[in-house]
């Protein structure tokens, strides 16, 4: 049993399917009047976020609390980090307090891997630079399975937008690839990665052609700050060529699913009307995120020294 969740690339298909099946049980728990189980009582989870995040942090915190763990927030802004403490010292300090898991978001790709080498606690990557955001990848395939059944093979998924700098895209591509989906990436040439070697995907710069027969459209957030890097001429031009506008959405198959990892720029990568349309499962992605993160936490922390199964009476 692995101790950490650092990257979808560390998982195989069986691992992913086991986690998604576990998430089904937690999905039921989250719908109860008392959406909480005592499974991880006494465990301590620390969230260590070096980047701003509201939704991911709250989602992890909700998941951890519904498993009855104690959750500590290490807020980087006001603490020792601004006094110049190194990552290693920060992590060692946290670990010395006696914790079971660290949920890390960091602006540098690979930071969670590094931390995992330093500590005995389980490390969960909540987004590292442009590398990966594995729980987002898991919750996206989980959401698709809820709507399209457990067999995603051959499902045509278009991922549209800032592929190059998106850790969500990376984790989604890997997770969808493991489950056999047919993934196409759509972006301006400046927002496609330089190399796609080893990725089970096709690419295009023509959104209208790519949308012809797709079953799922995943929009990525356009990081407006990148406009300064001149990766596209203007937001208006981006929207006209790569935004899921009302007109484009009208041409999609009637049962298409529209997804977005949030936070959305309404009117840029996705029209407000499309985000609120019945095809949109954006809110469900958020709810499913809690169940999937519960599954990850439970899987890593429930541990067990015994053998699988055993007599349960």
């Amino acid at each position: 049993m692995k101790r950490h969740l650092l990257s979808i690339a560390d998982l195989d298909r069986t691992d992913v399917e086991a986690l998604l099946e576990l998430a089904d049980s937690f999905s039921e728990v989250t719908q109860r009047d008392i959406p909480k189980v005592p499974a991880l009582r006494g465990k301590v989870v620390v969230s260590l976020f070096y980047e701003d995040s509201t939704r991911t942090r709250i989602s992890f915190e909700t998941a951890a609390k519904r498993l009855s763990t104690d959750v500590m927030n290490f807020s980087v802004g006001g603490a020792s980090v601004s006094k110049g403490e190194s990552l290693l010292d920060t992590v060692r300090t946290i670990e010395a307090m006696g914790i079971d898991a660290i949920v890390v978001r960091h602006q540098s790709a690979g930071a969670p891997h590094r931390i995992a080498q330093w500590v005995d606690a389980s490390v969960i990557n909540a987004g590292d630079g442009c590398h990966e955001h594995p729980t987002q990848g898991l919750l996206d395939v989980y959401t698709l399975r809820r709507y399209r059944g457990n067999d995603l093979s051959g499902l045509r998924v278009a991922i549209v937008g800032d592929i190059k700098y998106s850790r969500v895209a990376r984790s989604d591509v890997l997770a969808l690839g493991l489950l056999g989906a047919d993934v196409r990436l759509v972006a301006p040439p400046t927002l496609l990665p330089e190399s796609l070697e080893g990725w089970p995907v096709t690419t295009t710069t023509d959104l209208d052609a790519a949308l012809d027969d797709v079953d799922v459209v995943m929009l990525l957030r356009i990081q407006r700050e990148r406009q300064r890097d001149a990766v596209f001429p203007s937001l208006r031009e981006y929207t006209s060529r790569y935004g899921l506008t009302v007109e484009r959405a009208a041409r999609l198959k009637p049962d298409v699913l529209v997804m977005h990892p949030g936070p959305m720029n309404r009117g840029i990568e996705i029209a407000a009307e499309v985000a609120d349309s019945p095809a949109s499962v954006i809110t469900e992605q958020v709810s499913n995120g809690v169940a999937v993160r519960m599954a990850v936490l439970y899987h890593l922390l429930a541990g067990g020294v015994g053998t699988a199964g055993g007599d349960q009476r």
């Binding site: 691992d15 099946e21 576990l22 049980s25 009047d33 991880l40 541990g303 053998t307 007599d311």
Partner: protein, 218 residues
């Protein structure tokens, strides 16, 4: 990530023997399909008698075989009383006291179709052994509501309780040794014929525990 826990749908390694490399050998057959059917019918009668009918009763099976047994008892109640009894499924994994001591994976999603508050809930499982599963089930059930009463029906009570728990309805009291294993097979869950068997270690050497009077559970 580990794949040690069985995926849903696959038969989970419920029996101790499954994790001991299958070195257990067959000892005795306790129930055949016909005897099982009679046991379910008798339990159905007892539930109806004890509760003066079945109108307030909900049968809640514990995964995996308890769910199927609950369905069969419900069918028997329907034959006896012409009342349709709601059947639910309860997963107790997250309420167990051995999380961290071994791999504890949920066996299915809890699904109880009615509000249990104010009703008589009959928990149903295949084998009553240490009582720890039932303890976890009481906690899991408490999260769903406040039943007027909770009763327990089991197909086999094999003794060796580690908690002060007893069954209200028992298909058969079966004296066993701790080292032995009671295997319940059902057509629906085990792709097999119905039956209950005792398996045990091949050698007739010293047992792990004393044989007990099977009556202690009822």
């Amino acid at each position: 990530m580990s794949t040690e826990h069985a995926p849903h749908g696959a038969p989970e390694p419920t029996h101790a023997a499954a994790s001991r490399g299958g070195r257990f050998v067959f000892r005795a057959s306790v129930f055949d399909a016909e005897a099982l059917r009679r046991a379910f019918t008798r339990i159905a009668h007892e539930i109806v008698e004890r509760n003066h009918g079945a109108h307030d009763v909900v049968l809640v099976g514990l995964y995996t075989r308890g769910v199927e047994i609950a369905r069969r008892i419900a069918a028997a109640v329907e034959r006896v009383e012409s009342v349709t009894v709601p059947v639910g499924a309860l997963d107790v994994a997250f309420f167990r006291d051995d999380i961290g001591l071994r791999q504890v994976a949920p066996l299915g999603a809890t699904d109880v179709p009615v509000d249990v508050t104010g009703r008589v809930v009959v928990l149903v499982d295949d084998v009553l052994f240490t009582g720890r599963t039932v303890r976890a089930a009481l906690d899991a059930l408490g999260e769903l509501g406040r039943p007027a009463a909770v009763q327990l029906a089991v197909l086999v009570d094999r003794g060796h309780r580690e908690l002060p728990i007893r069954a209200d309805y028992v298909g058969k009291n079966l004296p066993t040794k701790v080292a032995e294993d009671v295997r319940v097979r059902l057509v629906e869950t085990d792709d097999d014929t119905d039956g209950v068997e005792i398996w045990g270690p091949p050698a007739a050497g010293p047992a792990d525990g004393p044989s007990v009077d099977g009556d202690q559970g009822s």
